[in-house]
């Protein structure tokens, strides 16, 4: 498995999981991403990304008891692994370094 490659969407999902702490399950991750990106998002891709992250051992999941809101159905809660937080840190450093080099020019507005 190519563990070092992380897609852009996967990175966002990983960040969302990180931000949600103990409450990172599928619906919650989607809500966060929808809110932050202001884009409509389906659950399917979110789960696909979560599964891939799990396969890359960047997150791990445990089953948690269901809530009343979910009609008592159990849910899978994701948490970052050490590997996962390392990946986020290194990505952030790369980004920072790269943004530092780039001369930020305001984008021309599209009218």
């Amino acid at each position: 498995m190519k563990r070092d490659q992380l897609g852009a969407f996967e990175e966002l999902v990983l960040l969302a999981v990180h931000g949600l702490g103990d409450e990172a399950y599928g619906m919650a991750v989607r809500e966060v991403l929808e809110r932050e990106t202001s884009r409509s998002l389906s659950l399917g891709p979110v789960y696909t990304a979560l599964d891939r992250l799990e396969a890359k051992e960047l997150v791990r999941s445990t089953m948690a008891a269901g809530t009343q809101k979910r009609g008592g159905r159990s849910r899978r809660v994701f948490t970052l692994t050490a590997e996962g937080s390392r990946a986020l840190t290194s990505l952030q450093q790369i980004r920072t370094r790269l943004y530092g080099r780039a001369r930020m020019v305001p984008a021309r507005s599209r009218s």
Binding site: S42, G44, Y47, T48, D51, K69, R70, R73, R76
Partner: protein, 903 residues
Amino acid sequence: VTAHPPSSWLAVARRLIAPSQREEAEGDLIELWARLSDRGDRAPSLRFWRETLSLAIASRRRLEEDFAQDVRHGVRLLRRLPGLALAACTSLAIGIGGTTAAFTMIDAALLRPWPYPDADRLVVLSTNLGRYFSPPAFRRLAGQHDGLDHLTATEADGFLMNFGGQAVLVNGHRLSAEVIALLGLNGPLHPEIGRPFNPSDFTAASDPVVAISDRLWRTRYASSDNIIGQTITADGVPLRVVGVLPRKFDFFPDSDLLVPLTFSEPGTYNEYARTLEVYGSLRPGLTPDLAALMLSAKTRYFAPAQVASVEGVRERVFRGFRPTVKILSVVSLIILIVGCLNFATLLTVRSADRQQELAVRIAMGAGRQRIVRQLVTEALVLSLVGGAVGVLVAYVGRGVLAGNAIDGMLELSRNLEWRVIAFATALALSTGVLFSVGPARRATARVDLESALRDAASPPLAGSRATWLVGSIQVAFTMVLLVGAALLVKSLLRIQSFDPGYDSSHAVTLRLELPRTRYRTDADVARFVELFTDRIRALPGIQDAGAASSLPFSVGSLGMRMVLLEGPIHVSGPPEAMPLGWRVPPPPPPPPGMSDMPPLDFLPALSCEVDPGFFRTMRIPLIKGRDFTPFDTAASPPVVIINQAMAARYWPDADPVGRRMRLGPLFPWKTIIGVVGNIRRFARDDEIRSEYYEPFSQAGDQRRLFARLGADLVRRGLGVQAPESPAMVVVRSRLNARAVTNAVAPLVRSIDPALPIAQVSTLREALDNAVADRRFILSHVVGFAALALLLAAVGVYAVTSHVVRRREHELGIRAALGARGAHLVWLAMREGVVVAVIGVFVGSLLSITLTPQLRGFLYEVSPWDWLTLSFVALLLVPAVICASYFPARRAARVDPLTALKSV
């Protein structure tokens, strides 16, 4: 109360999503609905279904990824090659390989479509007199064929051709005009180059034309396009080549020339020159039997040849080797069953051995479904590898198969076809799933988490009653194969030691076809034979030479004649048995003007023409009287020699030498001058028939007499076909066939430069060909039986060793309490012994029901030969017990301390 989506919607959504993610997805959908209604969304249903769809797609994708992971896992396990996986793979490879090989043949015989239009409706007709029609009979039939289209007459013939100064006999067929439509010569089987026949080619006035086979075109004309329009000479007749047939045209397998058959001179044919095979295409909606019924009614008054049967061409081709295919199918089915059962057993043992691993995974939260899926995927990997190896085995074995197959049987299947590959793949997949789901479910259902995790003693899963039952079934089927194999070996040994009545060693045979155009009379034939055999005898390294019109176990012209015997005879025994497919020829009608004569007592006997050296060369003993000599010529008194069977049948208490016989009231008497030993003619297990021999020089009296008696009698004749003149020459020599041919060929050329040697063989080869199908079946059954034995032994071995591993703890306690080693071993192998005994018992019953299928292949051995049965039982029981004894021996070495400590 929060809003809840309609439960029917949820139910539908559940179905769309893979089981392992159902609960989670359902929770998400419920939560989604609640949020949407909180938010006051206007179209919650739209959103609901969109999410359902996206979840469904994602869950499928996850399944796929799981599957890929399982496959990788399976391959990894396989690469580590635990003995069990290897054994499971091998079992399946053997099962699938055997079945695939058998399927290759069935495919060739039954399933492969023929290239001819409406191939399934192609039929061949036969009359009450046999397979062949006379030209007048064909023409009468063609005038009113009901139910059949494209009625075509074909006549096989040998054509004498000359390639580079060498005379060669080329096989060919003459065909009537309807063949164009019947076999699609201007449709799907249009010639590769050139044109198909035209209807005008079939008129008497047209130029003689010929279409040649692809084989002849490649071997003799170097695939040259210039061949079209050229003239080739066959049988002295110039023929213009109009086309080269496509390679897939194999309706007449050995035929290289197709020549139009014309009926230009009605007078030249008669009722009794029956040489035509008649084919047709069944009209839609008719069965062959129905067509036969209609045609036999229509032709009732067409004496003497009335249509008696209509048979599909494919059925006829297949009929010849149906028994072989049937037995092969049964045998390969058994090996498949044994292989699959072994596969299942080994998988069960394997998953039982991995119970701890599985328990850990379940404890870590893997669903049972997921584990089952993984086990099944692993099994699929194993079975596909097994299947691939099996196909490889079949591919390699195909050469072996083709090498000793019955003539014509495997000709069609030199290549493995996609159909065969598809068959093997389907077989592998279905066995993989079928025989792994059960063990996998059982393995996960029984995982007792706590004890498995502690690795404490749990009941030996693979030692369950079901596993031993499977073992018994395997042993039983193995027994069937072993019994079949033993019966066949016994038959073949009996056959090999059988005495055909002549000495088949060191004897080369040559077939010469003396063309009727140049060897018109029997004197011509006799002169050639005498000259030829004399010169052969003079060659160095040749012991003797003789000739006959027909040799045992090979083609030739052997006649069944009706003869009259002189004086009082005393017929003993049942009526003469006709050779297979022959009928008693009708007695000739009384000569004109003698119709008030009392009916004559005609008796059937085989007749064969020989030269004076024949009996000596064949080493057929002369029992009484004298042999033929060169002085028995056309001018001397006619003489015959009869065989012992004929002497015993008609003169049981008297001396036949000096008695006389003749072919009818107007034929000359022939004096019996000697009695020779019986020989087998057709099959080793055939009856011995009455037979008489006459010298080549005197055999043609019928022809001369017919000529004198007038045309009418000739036409109504004696039911004998137009006499041909094949001469079979036997050369007794210690040289091999090639050396003899090389020495003899110049002699033929020196006597008649235009005469080809049609065929070279040996007496031994002819004899061996007669048991080729037996040998073929034998090699298969023996091979499969050995494999089945191996598989059954491996299965029992694996289960026993698993049981020993599982019961180590218990055995250790017993050892600590003072149990003796022998007792421990017995405890471990007890079930193995039970399996052996039950298996052999059930196997005996199965054998008794199944072996009668082999009857046609047995020779002087009863299918219920109790000696064979007990021999096999005595072999099988110890073999199975051994297979469980070796792993059980370890039980005696169990160290009580280690066993106890492991609690």
